[in-house]
C-alpha cells in the first residue's frame, strides 16, 4: 500500500503515532492533569453526598462516567492547539497525504495517553466509591470504547473551535449534547453488570460507535480543520 509519494501508509501512521506519543511524554503534566482532575472530582462526590457506602455504590456508575466524560473534554480542549499555533497543522493540511488520514495518528496518540490511561485507572476510583470489583472489567471495557468515541466526537468540535479565542466553553457547548448516547450506553453497561444483567448489548452499541466514528469522524475533523485554517 503506497500512496502517490511512495510512502508506505502503515509505516507513516506508525511513525506519526510514535512522534505524537513522544510529544505527549515530553510534557507529562498533560497526561497527569486529566487523571488528577478525575481523582479530585471523584473525591468531591462523597464530600457532597455524604459517605454512606451503599448510596455511593448506587451512584458510582453515573459518577464515574460523568467524570470520565469531563476529563475527556479537558483532553479535547488541548487537542489541536499546539499544532495550530506552531503552524505544523497547516503543513499537515497542505501535504499530499489526505488530512483525514494524517489526523488519525494524533488521535491515536491522544487516546493512548488519555482515554486508555483513564480507563485503566478507573477501577481504582470505582473502588473508592464502593463499586464492586466484579464490575471492573465492564467498567474498563465500556470506558475504553467510550473514551475513543468521545475523543473522536470531541476532535470534531476541537477542529472547529481551535481558531476561536476562548474556544473552551464553546467546545463544551458544541459536543456535550453529542456525548449523551455514549453516556447512556456506558452507564447502562455498568448497571447491567451490577444487577447481574447482560452488558453485551450496551457494549456492542459502544463498539458500533467506535467503528462508525472511526469511519466518519476523521472526515469531519479534516473539514473542520480546513475551516479553522481558512484553507
Amino acid at each position: 500500500m503506497a500512496d502517490q509519494s511512495g510512502i508506505d501508509i502503515l509505516q507513516y501512521l506508525r511513525g506519526q503515532t510514535a512522534r505524537h506519543v513522544r510529544l505527549q511524554f515530553a510534557s507529562p503534566s498533560e497526561i497527569v492533569n486529566p487523571l488528577l482532575f478525575f481523582l479530585l472530582v471523584v473525591i468531591l462526590f462523597p464530600l457532597g453526598l455524604g459517605p454512606d457506602p451503599e448510596r455511593l455504590a448506587l451512584l458510582a456508575p453515573g459518577i464515574l462516567w460523568v467524570v470520565a466524560l469531563l476529563a475527556n473534554l479537558m483532553i479535547c480542549m488541548r487537542l489541536f492547539v499546539d499544532d495550530f499555533e506552531d503552524g505544523s497543522l497547516e503543513q499537515l493540511a497542505m501535504a499530499s497525504t489526505p488530512l483525514a488520514l494524517s489526523v488519525i495518528p494524533q488521535l491515536l496518540a491522544a487516546w493512548m495517553t488519555g482515554g486508555l490511561v483513564l480507563s485503566l485507572a478507573a477501577p481504582l476510583f470505582g473502588m473508592m466509591l464502593g463499586l464492586p470489583v466484579s464490575a471492573a472489567p465492564v467498567l474498563v471495557a465500556s470506558l475504553l470504547m467510550g473514551t475513543a468515541i468521545m475523543l473522536l466526537l470531541g476532535a470534531v468540535g476541537a477542529a472547529l473551535t481551535v481558531g476561536v479565542r476562548r474556544g473552551g466553553i464553546l467546545l463544551a457547548l458544541l459536543i456535550l449534547p453529542l456525548y449523551i448516547p455514549v453516556l447512556i450506553a456506558g452507564t447502562r453497561a455498568l448497571d447491567e453488570a451490577l444487577h447481574s444483567g447482560d452488558p453485551a448489548v450496551a457494549l456492542a452499541f459502544l463498539g458500533a460507535g467506535v467503528t462508525g466514528g472511526l469511519l466518519l469522524a476523521p472526515l469531519a475533523i479534516a473539514a473542520g480543520l480546513r475551516v479553522s485554517l481558512e484553507l
Partner: protein, 244 residues
Amino acid sequence: MWRIIHQLGSPPWVYRFCDRVIPWLLPLTAVALIVGSAWGLLFAPTDYKQGDSYRIIYIHVPAAVVSLAGYYIMAFAGLVSLVWRIKLADLAMRAAAPIGAAFTAVALITGAIWGKPTWGAWWVWDARVTSMLILFFLYVGVIALFQAYDNKTIAARACAILSLVGTVNIPIIYKSVDWWYSLHQPASIKFTGSSAIDASMLYPLLGMIVAFYALFALLLMLNLKQSLTSEYSQSNWLIKRITT
C-alpha cells in the same frame, strides 16, 4: 428545473421572490393561526381525562414538529453551502437557526406548562422532553459557533459541518434517550398516542401544524431578507430595488 436552482442561488432573484411572497404569506399565516387556535381552543371537544388543559397541544405539538424539521432544513442548507459554496445557502442556514431555537424553546415552555397540571411537575425526565432539550442545545451550539467567528463566510462553513454532524447524531441521540428512559422509569406516564387521537381533535391539530410551518417559512423569509439587506447593502441591485 435547473433554472429554478440557478435562480435560488441568485440574491436579487431571492430578494424579489421574498418581496413577492411575503405579502401573501403573512395574511395566510395569520388567518391559519387564528382559525387553527380558535378551532382547537374553543370548538374541539374537551378531553375526558385531562379536561381543558390538553388544549395546549395545539401550540405544543406544532412547535415541536416544526423545530425538528427546522434542524433538518438548516442542515440541508449547510450541506448545499458546503458542497456548492452558494452564499445564499449560508444566509438561509444562518436565518433558520434562531427560528428553530425559538420554536424548540416554545415547545419546551408549553411542555412545562402542560406538565404541571397533568404530571404534577414542571419538569419530568421524560424521553421526549429530554430529546427536545438536547435539540435546543444543538441549535444553541450552531448559533454560538456562528457568533464566535469574525469572518462570517468561515463561520457559515463551520456551522454547516457542525449541523451535519448533528444530523447524523440526532437519530442516535433520540434512540438512546428512549433506551435510557425504558431503563430508569417504567412507563408510569402514558402519552396519548397520536394515532389514538379522535378526528375532532386531530383536524385542528393538523391545521395548526400547517400554520406553524407557514409561520416558519414566513419568519425564514423575513430573516433572509434582513440578512440579504445587510450583506448586500453596497450592491447596486439592492440600492436600486429599495430606492425605486
